[in-house]
Every structure is written in structure tokens, then in C-alpha cells.
Symmetry: C2
Subunit: 502 residues, 2 copies
């Protein structure tokens, strides 16, 4: 627990939580030059692409992490890659930090600005440039929303696979920054498995094309490195993504159990048998209550844990896979098996699951963790999570991508109770440490952002972190891109030793 | 075409081709210290792990690229990660180049040594450390052969997906270095899609663990960067790989066409319709003749081009997918459709395909290209390849992973005819340039190695290459690991500018 050196000009109630997170001290020399910088930016962009008035800056002062707010120096909303290039060339030359932004749906504070930074948002880069079925690819600008890609190819029988719950709003640029996942990534993989290429602007304004429509590429896999780099290696302005053919049919099935541990063990055994459905989502009793009240999805109310298993393909294929899953579930004492009987029922089941975070927000304040564990540890980690929460006297709702081992405990607390808020934050940290100690990691799909920056030391040895930071410096030598995210604030590149020990 | 500054002490006939490739000039200061270096290495390794006699070094003087040979300074065959660490710490301190080596099956010269280098081979790191079905993972040492992983889990109904034709010999360490593919990677992806984690020794001997059994990871995707980095970022000593459940059944089906272009167009339309079989392999008439003579696979002899399409799943699933593929093939005038009637027939079909390179070697000298193109360009590139070959008065056999767009023209020539040899090399370069110009890339699965080093300038602008080299320097600042591979020899890191232009 450390002090907050920077003080927000517009401190709010939500900022209290931010006191747990030390923030980068803004550079007064840059803030002092604000008027001149804004004048320079106005030369680089049409007037409607530059936001500088405090009232208009407000929507950009945080993201979906919301526990921290800062007004940025200015917000640029470029309409072309050339404008992004001009902005980065200018900011590099002047040493002005840049915070890239998609739709601001980050759950880890990845898009939270700082007072001495220019936010570069990609929302106006919102065109689908090309749909190319023979190569099963689409080329889209970075500000296109996730759902828009699937909508554009739906009538032709195709879709774009990664499906974050925020898919109505989140952009493909943000998805690439965070390597976003979603419920259906169990079968189809996360963003990195569905990304073929990017056009990216480097820190100094140079424009590079990486990857493309062909398999693999020579040289190092820079595309993979960029995916999930949280906007620190460059600003992606265009993406080439993989299109997939829609399955013949899909059917979500509800499996109710008497305990979370039984449901977790069932998931482990399904995957361990080599069966990969499209999705296996988990809800415990509190999550079932919350989601059912909100979505009227028809979830069974007499069980302690629920799995939503989606199978797809022809009727025969779905029946065959379901029979194998039901057999395994019986061995774990499954109490209820309920197949959706119509497209409407199926939609309600998914609506309930996808609105879990929003529905929880209606009844309580919460923070959402994103720890991921090897599947064999699922039951153990669920039990230990319950023990941690009980120790702090809090409540938790577990609703997560069980097939991937990607846990999302929602820790409920009262934001007006400072003591509870602190306990929730501490319980969250304990849970993430538990995931790491069980052989897992801090984040499956939400990214590190500001939220988990300091926990990186629990996951990585100093040599590992230094290597990550050296890789970053190879792209952004002066650390102007999203500088206060991902890595702990102390131990930054000045201390990096790249020479071999003599 | 440039001169060869280094002269091999054991110049052979095969070296003539190497004159097309400039090689790194060996450092006489290191060669002069050979006896002292060998004495130092002997302190770091048991006697049976160090090879220094010229006769015993001979098997390490080239790899499957064979057109270039050099005796290395010494060969170390460590038995533990700690020994690899000690070797790299020593070589870093002394500034001795290191060439990592798997089984030496590289087709691009990735494992070819140099006279001032110590080869570190992983062949003695050959144990399977753990098989973990609940997490669908296996942990293996880097010298385990590709086929051994699948053999170890076969009885339990699992397999490891990437299947290079050299899978009986090649190691998982080499597969990671080259991001190797194989016929069945159309459905299952290449090495990078099936790799979960590595233990790696860095240039200075430090040991890092990257990735693991959990989904994704926080921070940058260093695992993806390392996969395909051709041994230049570190030496992998252990790998955690994904296991998959074996399908219920699999069936290769032969589709014969009257022209290569019709077969290519059929592949484009199958993939464009969103149908992803396990494999779609292509053979033109010369390849059919060569493989049938060798393997008696029952290939149709009255067609100009052949597709081997493998479908898998239940009988009903296979029938359903095949029906859709046959419908598309009919639109392209398919002449023959022949399903394998038994496991024996299926094995013969694959034996013919997988021995294509060996069978070709029995009738002619050849070089094999590895260019990869977007699928929509398949017919165009096949036609243009034919034109290039005709212009040089040579012959070509095309046998390749068509579903991935990963072409393997085998350019036939007489190695005793210096003029033909030169023409073959030039035709190969023209074909790779054609692939790049068609929106593709130089290599799908064989890597850059020495072979395609100079062609990297055709694929990449200077800024792109510099960025790749900066990424490399972030791992190996003094470029001691496999130094003469992947990048053109001129324009190396001394000229890299990492500061922003003022």
C-alpha cells in the first residue's frame, strides 16, 4: 500500500480505490505547455478530431475499470493512419506521453489517461475496408466494433470468433491491445488466434505492415508480440482478421450441480477427455440468482453451480458430443440437464450470461478478477477463493469461462464503506496470487493495465520482467506509449542491464 | 550474386551452390584459441557430451539444406538445462558464436554451423517429463522427436498435432525454432498454435520459464515471439505442448483434375466456403509420377493434378463434409474422386505424400521452395511458377500444403551441371519473389535460415527489418546466437537507430 503522488484535479468518490494504486507523477513541464501543444495538435488534425474542453474531455477520463480518473491533456480522434502517424511523430519529438484508446471498455484500466498525456482514440477509424471470402479474411479499421465484423459477414454464413461480453461496444483495436477473449474462445481461440495482420504506427510515426493474408511469415512473430501488448508497442490502425464459417447449428445446454467443486471437476474431466465444446461457462449460486433475476433465462434455481455448455454442428454431431458430456457429468452427480428448446431460449441463456457483470452492478458494487488457472486446478481454486472471501467477510459471485480455466470472481462490496472497499481490493489480490501459485496467471483476457501492474512481481522474477521491458524498449525506446501500464512503476528501463555479466 | 569471403577447410562439390550465398567471415581470433576453448568446454560437460575430433564433427557440418558445409569449432551435447546455461554463460563471456541444433533436418540451413562457432545440440535432452491429460498438456525436453510425443499418448487416445514430413527425426526444439508445420496443420495450426510454454536459456546463461499450462498470460507474448525465432533469442530446453484427442475416424480422399489451375481454384473455393478439412495436399503430374513410382499409393495416373483431402470425425460427419467438397470439385470439372477403402490404403496415400521429397531425391537433384500465398492467388501463382521454370528451361514438381497456401515447388536440376544449378537457384528466387508480390511470404514452415536471408529485403522495408533486429537485440545484445541466419549480413545492428528523429 503506497501513497498517491499525483492528485487529480477532479477527485471523485471512485478515486478512493485508486489510492491502492500508485500513479505516475504527471510531468509539470508538459502540463505547463498545454496551450502550445494544443495549438500544435490543431495543425495536425481537422477541428472536429480534437477534444480539449474539460467538459468534452470527461468521457475520456476513465474506462470500465472506473476506480481511477484523470483528465487527459487532450484527446485526438484521427480519421486516417496518416494523421495517427503525424500525431505520434509530434508526440515523440516533444516527449509527450500517448494513451491509445479503443472504446474505453477495458476492465483493467488499460485506457485510463494521465494528465500529461494525449489520448489517441481510434473511434473514427470505423470502416470495414474489405471482405475477402476466398482468403477467409476481413480487413477493418481499428475502431470497428467487434460485433460489426460478424454482422457484416453474417448473411454470407461467416463470423469473427472472439466474442467479449462487451462486443457491442469494444473495438477490434482494443481487442488486439488486450488479446481479448470471450465465451466462445474455448473452441476458437482468443484474438491472437484469429488475427492475420495489422497496419501499425510506431512511436516515431513510421508506418509498418505486419502479417497479412498468407500463413505464417518469415522473421520473428512480431504480430503475436503486438497482440496483447496493451498499446505500448505502437498504435494499430488496421487489422486483417480471420473469418470462420458459421456452424450448421448450435445448442446451449444447462448442467446443474450440488456444489461448485463438482461442477469444476466435471469441466476438468470433459476437457481432460479431449472433448472441446464451443463454450463451457460456469456460474455459482450467487451468479445464478443475479443473472436469472435480470434475464429470466430459465436457469435452474435449486442448484449450487451451473455449467452452460454449448455444442455445435449438425444435429447428429451435437447429440453425439452431448451424450459424452452427459456421461461425464453423471459421474459428478449432475442434478439437472436442460437443453434449450428454441432459438429464443438459447438467446436468453446467453443474454443472462453476457449481462452478468451489468446485472451484478445493479445490485452491488463489485470488482472483477481475471485470473486463469490450469484446468486441473479448477476445483481447488474455487474452494480456496471461497475461503479467502470468507476470511474478509465479503461475498463473491463466480461467473466465468470454465473451459479455458479463465476465472472471473466478482467480489461484492459497498463502495460507501471504505473498510469494505479496502478488503475487497485485498481479497482480489489474494485471489490473483492464488491463481499464480496454482500454476496459472494474472489475466486471461482483460490485460494488466493499471490494475495488476504491481502484481506482475508476484508472477515474474526480475530477470523475466526485465526481458519484457527490453522487448518493449526495442519498439518504444523512450516509453511514450501508455507508459504507466503493465509494468511496476519502479524498476523501469534505466536499470536494465543488457550486457552479459563478465 | 556476391563473392564468398570465407573458404571452407573441407570444400565439397555441394559447396558450389553456397557460392550464391555470402557467408559470415569466421573470426580468426576465436579459431586461434580453439584448443583453449575446448579445454574450457571440457570443464563444463562430461567427456561424452563434447565432440571435437574432425571425423566426429562431420555429421554436424551441415543440415538437410546440404548446399553448404562448415566444420564447427566444437559440438556440445548437454544433458541438462544447467549445462546449457553454463555453456551459454561461457560463450557469452568469451564472445564465441553459438549455433543451436535439433536433429539437423532444417531445409533452410538454419542449423548449419560456422567455423568459429560452438554447436549446442539438444539430442541428449530426450525425455518426456510429464503427460497431463486434465490440462491436455505434455512437458517434454527439447530433443524429444516430434513423433515420440504422439506415440507416448497414442494408447490413451491423444496426439500432438503438427506433423512435419521429417517427424520421425526432427525434434520439438527444432520445431519451435522454425515454427514447423505439416500436412495436418490446416485444421490444427502450426507449432505456435500448439505450444503452451518453454523453459529457455538466455544468451548469458540465465534460465527463464515462459508460458505454462494456463490460457494466455499477462505482459507481452514472448512465447509467440520465441516460436519461429530460429534459435536467435535463446536455447529452448523444455517445452509444454498441447495434446489433442484423436478423431473418431479419418479418411483421405483423392481428387484428380485435368489442370493444376482447376485443382488450385477448387482449393480456393473449398476454403472460401468456410470448409476446413484436416488436410488439403496438392500434387501436379510430375509429383504424382515420382510419388506413385516410390510408394505405390494408388494415385490416379491419368490426371494433371491431384488433391489429397483428408476429412475426419464420425462416419456421418465425414460423409457430410465430403459431399460439400465433392459438389465444389464438380464445379471445377473434377475427373476422379477416390476414397481410401481401408486403413492400409489410407496409410499408403500418406506415405506417398510424406516421402515426396525423398522420392524426388532418388531421381534428380532438387531445391525446395517454401513460399506461401493467400489462397485466392493459388491458381495464379501455380501458372506463373510454370512460366518461370519454362523460362529457365528447367523442370518442376509441385507437391504442397494447398489448404494453407504453403507451396513447395521442387525445382529439378543436375548438380553436375554448374549452369543448371545456377538457373535453379535463380528460378527459386524468382518464385519466392512472385509469392511475396502476390501478397504472400518467403516461408510457411521451413524458416529463413541461410537460404532466404538475402530475400528478406524483398519482403521487408528497411524500417521493418530494423524493427525485427531491434527485437532480437533485446534478447541477445551481442548477437552470439545463430548469428549468420535470418537477416542479411549487411545492415546489422551497428546501424540501428532507436532514438526518435528530432
Amino acid at each position: 500500500m503506497r501513497a498517491v503522488p499525483g492528485v487529480s484535479p477532479a477527485r471523485r468518490q471512485e478515486d478512493a480505490m485508486a489510492e491502492l494504486i500508485e500513479f505516475q507523477v504527471p510531468n509539470p513541464a508538459i502540463i505547463g505547455r498545454r496551450a502550445a501543444i494544443i495549438a500544435d495538435l490543431a495543425d495536425l488534425l481537422p477541428a472536429e478530431c480534437l477534444v480539449t474542453e474539460p467538459r468534452e474531455l470527461a468521457p475520456f477520463e476513465t474506462d470500465a475499470f472506473v476506480s481511477y480518473r484523470r483528465l487527459p491533456l487532450a484527446v485526438a480522434l484521427p480519421e486516417t493512419t496518416a494523421q495517427v502517424s503525424a500525431l505520434l511523430r509530434y508526440c515523440s519529438r516533444e516527449g509527450i506521453p500517448v494513451v491509445p484508446r479503443g472504446a474505453g471498455t477495458s476492465l483493467s484500466g488499460g485506457a485510463i489517461p494521465q494528465e500529461d498525456a494525449v489520448v489517441i482514440g481510434v473511434s473514427k477509424l470505423s470502416r470495414i475496408l474489405e471482405v475477402d471470402y476466398p482468403n477467409r479474411a476481413a480487413v477493418v479499421q481499428a475502431g470497428v466494433t467487434n460485433i460489426n465484423i460478424s454482422q457484416a459477414v453474417d448473411a454470407d454464413g461467416f463470423f469473427y470468433a472472439p466474442d467479449p461480453s462487451s462486443q457491442l461496444a469494444c473495438t477490434i483495436g482494443g481487442n488486439i491491445g488486450m488479446n481479448s477473449g470471450g465465451a466462445h474462445c474455448l473452441k476458437y481461440g482468443v484474438t491472437t488466434n484469429n488475427l492475420l495482420g495489422v497496419r501499425m504506427v510506431m512511436f516515431d510515426g513510421s508506418i509498418v505492415d505486419i502479417g497479412g493474408k498468407a500463413l505464417d511469415a518469415e522473421g520473428y512473430d512480431l504480430l503475436g508480440l503486438i497482440c496483447g501488448s496493451e498499446g505500448q508497442l505502437g498504435i494499430v490502425t488496421e487489422a486483417t482478421v480471420r473469418l470462420l464459417a458459421k456452424p450448421e447449428g448450435a445448442r446451449p445446454v444447462l448442467f446443474g450441480f450440488d456444489s461448485s467443486e463438482a461442477a469444476g471437476a466435471c469441466v476438468t474431466d470433459v476437457i481432460g477427455a479431449g472433448i472441446i465444446p464451443v463454450a463451457i461457462e460456469f456460474m455459482d449460486k450467487p451468479a445464478i440468482d443475479i443473472c436469472e433475476a435480470f434475464a429470466k433465462a430459465g436457469y435452474p434455481m435449486d442448484v449450487e453451480a451451473l455449467l452452460i455448455v454449448e455444442v455445435e454442428g449438425s444435429e447428429a454431431e451435437m447429440d453425439a458430443m452431448l451424450a459424452r458430456i452427459i456421461e461425464i457429468a453423471r459421474r459428478h452427480g449432475v442434478k439437472t440437464v436442460k437443453e434449450s428448446q428454441s432459438a429464443l431460449e438459447a438467446a436468453a441463456i446467453w443474454k443472462g450470461r453476457k449481462s452478468a457483470f451489468g446485472a451484478t452492478g445493479r445490485i452491488s458494487d463489485y470488482i472483477c478478477m481475471d485470473g486463469t488457472v490450469p484446468l486441473g486446478q479448477l476445483s481447488y481454486v474455487l474452494r480456496k477463493t471461497g475461503e479467502i472471501i470468507a476470511r474478509y467477510g465479503l461475498r463473491v459471485a463466480n461467473v466465468f469461462h470454465a473451459g479455458d480455466g479463465n476465472m472471473h470472481p466478482l467480489i461484492l462490496f459497498d463502495a460507501n464503506n471504505e473498510d469494505e472497499r479496502m478488503k475487497a481490493e485485498m481479497a482480489g489480490n489474494d485471489i490473483l496470487r492464488l491463481c499464480v501459485d496454482a500454476g496459472g496467471c494474472l489475466t486471461g483476457e482483460h490485460g494488466v493495465g493499471i490494475e495488476k501492474r504491481d502484481l506482475m512481481r508476484h508472477q515474474y522474477a526480475e530477470a523475466d520482467l526485465n526481458q519484457q521491458m527490453r522487448a518493449r524498449s526495442a519498439f518504444d525506446p523512450n516509453w511514450i506509449l501508455n507508459p504507466s501500464k503493465v509494468f511496476p512503476l519502479d524498476g523501469r528501463p534505466d536499470s536494465l542491464e543488457t550486457r552479459p555479466a563478465a
